[in-house]
C-alpha cells in the first residue's frame, strides 16, 4: 500500500503545487509507515525533481493526449495508476485542475475525500484531515472512513522540503481517452507567480482612488517579487481583472506576506486573506477594521508611504 501523489504539470513542467503535494505525500507516508510514489501525465520535463521532495518512485504516462487537460481522461488515468501502484491515499493539489478531478476520483475509487486540506493528517483516532472552512473563518476536522482516501491540498498549506535526490522516471503505459472538452485557447500572464501560488502578495483597494494610480502597487510588488491583488470594489469597477480579486467571493489565498494598501478590511475581504502568515496594513484611516487582523500597521496616506516603502525595500535589497 502506497501514498500516491498526482503531480500536476503545465506547459510541460511540474508545478510548484506538485512539490507541495509530494512533500505532503512523503510526510503522510511516514505517518502510515509506507512509501510515497508520484505520477505525472503528459510532458513533465522536470519530473525527476519530485524525488528531491520525497517521492520514492516517480512515474510518467507520456501519451501526448495528456498534454491538454480533460477531467474525464485525467481522472480515468489517475484512478488506474493509483490501483496499479497499490495506492491507499491519493494526494493532489486543490488547484483549478485538482478541483475538476477530486470529485470524479472519489467516485471512481469509492474513496472519501477532503478537498482543500490546510494541514497534515493525524492517524491516532482514524485518518483525520483539517481544512479551512467558512472562507478561512474556521477549520473543520474530517475523518475519512473508507479504505481508499483522497486529500487535495490547499496552495501554500505546506512548504516544499527537499529530503531526497532526483529519481529516475518509470514509465506508465496509460492512454489518454479522446477528450470531450476541447481547449481552444490558453492565456496566462507569464513571468508572474499566479496569485493562488504566490508567497508574497501586494494588494490594493479603493484607497488608491483611480486605476491610473496602480503604478505604485506594481512597483512595490516588482521590488519585492510579489504578485498583485485587489479588493472586490476595485475588480467590480473594472480597475483590475477579476482574477486578481481576493476575498470571500474572489480568490482565497494564504501567502506568507500580504500587504494591503488602502483596503479597509471588510469581513468578506478578510475571509479571503486571513490565512496569510503575516499581514501588513497601510491605510490612512486609523479606524479601518483591517488593522485588527494585521501583524504590522502604518496609519498614513498610501501615496506618501508606499513610495517611501519602495525606497526602503531597495535599500534593504542593496545591503543583503
Amino acid at each position: 500500500m502506497s501514498v500516491i501523489v498526482f503531480a500536476e504539470s503545465v506547459d510541460g513542467k511540474v508545478k510548484k503545487n506538485a512539490f507541495e503535494a509530494v512533500t505532503y505525500g512523503r510526510k503522510t507516508a511516514e505517518l502510515l509507515g509506507t512509501d510515497c510514489k508520484a505520477i505525472t501525465l503528459g510532458k513533465a520535463e522536470n519530473a525527476s525533481e519530485l524525488g528531491v521532495y520525497g517521492a520514492g518512485e516517480v512515474y510518467n504516462a507520456g501519451d501526448a493526449g495528456f498534454d491538454a487537460f480533460d477531467s474525464q481522461s485525467f481522472a480515468a488515468a489517475i484512478a488506474e495508476a493509483f490501483n496499479q501502484l497499490g495506492g491507499t491515499v491519493l494526494i493532489l493539489a486543490h488547484s483549478a485542475m485538482g478541483k475538476s478531478l477530486t470529485g470524479r476520483l472519489s467516485v471512481k475509487l469509492d474513496a472519501g475525500c477532503v478537498s482543500g486540506a490546510s494541514g497534515m493528517p493525524t492517524n491516532s483516532d482514524g485518518f483525520q484531515v483539517p481544512k479551512s472552512v467558512y472562507s478561512g473563518k474556521a477549520s473543520a476536522h474530517y475523518k475519512i472512513t473508507s479504505d481508499k482516501k483522497i486529500v487535495s491540498l490547499m496552495g501554500n498549506a505546506i512548504k516544499p522540503e527537499k529530503t531526497g535526490s532526483a529519481s529516475d522516471i518509470k514509465s506508465l503505459s496509460l492512454a489518454a481517452s479522446a477528450p470531450l472538452v476541447k481547449v481552444l485557447e490558453r492565456k496566462t500572464v507569464s513571468g508572474i507567480v499566479p496569485l493562488p501560488e504566490a508567497s508574497l502578495v501586494v494588494s490594493a483597494g479603493r484607497g488608491l482612488k483611480d486605476p491610473s494610480n496602480w503604478g505604485i502597487v506594481e512597483d512595490l510588488a516588482a521590488e519585492l517579487g510579489a504578485t498583485t491583488a485587489c479588493s472586490r470594489p476595485v475588480a467590480d469597477s473594472g480597475w483590475r481583472p477579476h482574477h486578481e480579486h481576493v476575498g470571500q467571493t474572489g480568490v482565497a489565498i494564504r501567502p506568507t506576506l500580504y500587504i494591503a494598501l488602502g483596503i479597509s478590511g471588510a469581513i468578506q475581504h478578510l475571509a479571503g486573506v486571513n490565512n496569510s502568515k503575516v499581514i501588513v496594513v497601510i491605510n490612512k484611516d486609523p479606524e479601518a477594521p483591517f488593522f485588527k487582523a494585521a501583524d504590522y500597521g502604518i496609519v498614513g496616506d498610501v501615496f506618501d508611504v508606499v513610495p517611501r516603502l519602495i525606497e526602503s525595500v531597495k535599500k534593504f535589497k542593496a545591503s543583503h
Binding site: Y134, A140, A294, I298
Partner: protein
C-alpha cells in the same frame, strides 16, 4: 434548452461563525441564511439569460429540509420556472452530489450549472462528483458561457490566466465571477414565485465516507504592531528579522 441550476443555502457572508456541541454543529441561532452567492449571481442568472435569449426553462434543485424553501422561492422569484427539493439535511458534498445524480439521471437536462463552491465548506466538489456520476464532461470555474446549438463555449479561470474551451451538451459547469451579474428579484417575480411548482422528493440511500469530527476557530491574532508612517525602513527590518518573510 433545459437547464438545471443546483443551489445551496449558506450563512450570509457577514455572519459571525461559531459552533456548538463541542464544535460539531454550526451555531445557527440568529444567523441569516442566503442562497450561496456563486449559485445565485452566476449559475442561476446565466442560466436565465440563456433561456431568455434562446428559449427553454430553468429548474432549480436543492438538497435540504423545508427550512430551505425561502431560499428556493428566491430562486423562483429571480426567474426559475420550477423547483425540486430533495428532502434531506445533506451530510456533505458526496451526499449532495449523489442525491442530485439520483434525481437528475435520465431527465434530459442540456446544461447543469452550479456555483464554483459554497461559501461555507468551500469544497468545490459537487460539480465534478455529479459529472462523474452522470458520466458527463465537466468544466470548473467558468467565467463566460455561450451556447450555440448543442455546442457550449466556456472560458474558465486557471492559475494566472484563462482558458477557453468548447464542449458538446450536455455538460456540467461550475460558475465563477464574470459569468453574469447579480439580479434583484422584482415585485412581480416575488408574487409569481409563490405559485410556481416546488416539488419535494424523498432522498436516495447514500453512505458517506467522511465524517465531520469537529470545528475549531483560528487562534486570536496578537495585537497589531504599529509603525510610524515615516519609518518604512523599520517595517522592512521587522519583516526580515522578526517575521522572516522577506
Amino acid at each position: 434548452m433545459k437547464i438545471l441550476v443546483c443551489i445551496s443555502k449558506t450563512p450570509d457572508t457577514t455572519a459571525k461563525i461559531a459552533f456548538k456541541n463541542d464544535g460539531k454543529d454550526f451555531q445557527a441561532d440568529g444567523i441569516q441564511f442566503i442562497m450561496n452567492p456563486y449559485d445565485e449571481w452566476y449559475a442561476l442568472v446565466r442560466g436565465l439569460e440563456l433561456t431568455e435569449a434562446q428559449g427553454g426553462t430553468v429548474t432549480v434543485i436543492n438538497v435540504g429540509t423545508a427550512d430551505n424553501d425561502t431560499v428556493i422561492r428566491k430562486g423562483l422569484a429571480i426567474g426559475a420556472a420550477d423547483a425540486i427539493r430533495i428532502n434531506k439535511d445533506p451530510e456533505g458534498a458526496w451526499d449532495v452530489a449523489h442525491q442530485l445524480a439520483a434525481q437528475v439521471k435520465g431527465q434530459g437536462y442540456d446544461l447543469i450549472l452550479l456555483g464554483k463552491e459554497t461559501i461555507d465548506y468551500n469544497d468545490s466538489e459537487v460539480g465534478a462528483t455529479l459529472a462523474e456520476l452522470l458520466d458527463l464532461p465537466y468544466i470548473s470555474y467558468g467565467n463566460k458561457l455561450e451556447v450555440s446549438g448543442t455546442t457550449a463555449t466556456v472560458s474558465r479561470e486557471i492559475e494566472g490566466g484563462t482558458e477557453t474551451m468548447e464542449v458538446q451538451l450536455p455538460v456540467v459547469i461550475s460558475c465563477a465571477k464574470g459569468m453574469a451579474e447579480q439580479r434583484i428579484p422584482n415585485m412581480k417575480g416575488i408574487m409569481t414565485a409563490k405559485s410556481k411548482p416546488l416539488t419535494v422528493v424523498e432522498p436516495a440511500a447514500v453512505t458517506s465516507h467522511v465524517t465531520l469530527v469537529t470545528h475549531t476557530l483560528p487562534p486570536a491574532k496578537k495585537s497589531v504592531h504599529m509603525i510610524a508612517p515615516e519609518d518604512t525602513d523599520e517595517l522592512v527590518r521587522l519583516l526580515h528579522e522578526e517575521a522572516k518573510v522577506i
